[in-house]
């Protein structure tokens, strides 16, 4: 068994209404200690209202070598951006 603590990814929500953002990672023996360590490492300057941690091995990532089939097909589909509508003046800012 490895003596190294598992790696955790840390997500912090800065204020109400915003979403949690990935801020970094750290090591901890379990989930509770990961939250505490995240509090001590990443919220020292009043950055946080809420913390999520997830063990890094539970994150499934896309494969960088699949970049072509994964992302390039959407490059040519400009019609998916809702930029072709004329907004009536009295609708105001959207």
């Amino acid at each position: 068994m490895s003596k190294e603590w598992p790696l955790w990814e840390v997500f912090i929500r800065g204020q109400h209404g915003l979403s949690h953002r990935h801020v970094g990672s750290l090591h901890a023996p379990d989930a509770e200690m990961a939250v505490k360590n995240a509090r001590d490492v990443y919220t020292r300057r009043n950055e946080g209202q809420s913390i999520w941690v997830v063990e890094a091995r539970h994150v499934t990532a896309s494969n960088p070598s699949d970049k072509g089939p994964m992302y390039e097909p959407s490059e040519s589909k400009v019609y998916r951006h809702p930029t072709f509508f004329d907004i009536p003046d009295d609708a105001g800012a959207m």
């Binding site: 750290l26 090591h27 901890a28 023996p29 509770e32 200690m33 505490k36 360590n37 001590d40 490492v41």
Partner: protein
């Protein structure tokens, strides 16, 4: 000397001395996360020291500052509990000392929130949140290491055996403690004991550690009658700069 002045020294010297001890880990803790956590704890304690010694200086009324009290008094003038000045030892011993302190500290601060002196209750209101977190962290670590590997268990039991005889001092009142209680500044020290004993019994049980049977208590730190040989060494380090370069600031 007034009961309030003496009480502020007893609180502020304990947080100062423990804060300095904990800061000695800075850059040396076993893992980065613990290093930062210990530094945070040390800074909280030093911050509380500024409030307690600031109030002590104000009450004393001769124009001294919190810094004067921290850096220009000698060892026999310190009023910290002996537990706070004991050496760090290994990481487990440091966390056991922290836990034994935090459990008392939080109970004391909660009682002080109802102090008859508004300045005391204001300090307690601020410090109680910090102490709650310190306790949560130190308790979890004591349980984790106590109920951990054979080696961590043995180290934590040795730390408890070494440190436990120093906790009794927190509950032994002298005339000044009695005067502070009478004026409503602070609680009767003994009134915190039952809660403390129950809490540490539960924690040690979860940590699979055995509380020593002996009720012998080292004392003398809070009254200033006698300190351990460790405090003087710590102060030579902590006070060196102000002693060598009086009035130096940045």
């Amino acid at each position: 000397m007034s009961a309030l002045y003496e009480f502020c020294l007893r609180m502020g010297d304990s947080t100062l001395v423990l804060g300095h001890r904990v800061s000695e880990w800075c850059g040396l803790a076993p893992v980065l996360e613990e290093d930062i956590a210990l530094a945070n704890t040390a800074l909280d304690l030093i911050g509380q020291t500024q409030l307690w010694l600031g109030l002590a200086a104000e009450v004393e009324g001769s124009g001294k500052t919190a810094d004067d009290l921290a850096f220009l008094r000698d060892v026999w003038d310190f009023r910290n509990a002996l537990l706070c000045e004991l050496p760090n030892g290994d990481f487990g011993q440091t966390l056991m000392r922290q836990y034994l302190f935090d459990e008392w500290h939080l109970g004391m601060l909660k009682a002080l929130q109802g102090s008859s002196d508004d300045r005391v209750s204001a300090i307690a209101d601020k410090a109680v949140k910090e102490a709650s977190y310190h306790l949560e962290r130190s308790r979890d670590t004591v349980i984790g290491l106590g109920d951990g590997t054979e080696e961590s268990h043995a180290r934590m039991q040795a730390a408890l055996d070494y440190l436990y005889p120093y906790v009794g001092e927190f509950f032994i009142a002298d005339a000044l403690d009695d005067a502070a209680a009478k004026e409503g500044i602070a609680p009767e020290l003994n009134s915190l004991k039952a809660g403390y004993d129950a809490a540490i019994a539960a924690t040690m049980n979860a940590a699979t550690l055995t509380l020593p049977e002996s009720k012998f208590a080292h004392k003398g730190g809070r009254t200033g009658r006698t300190h351990t040989e460790h405090l003087g060494h710590m102060l030579t380090n902590m006070q060196w700069l102000q002693r060598a370069y009086p009035g130096a600031s940045w």
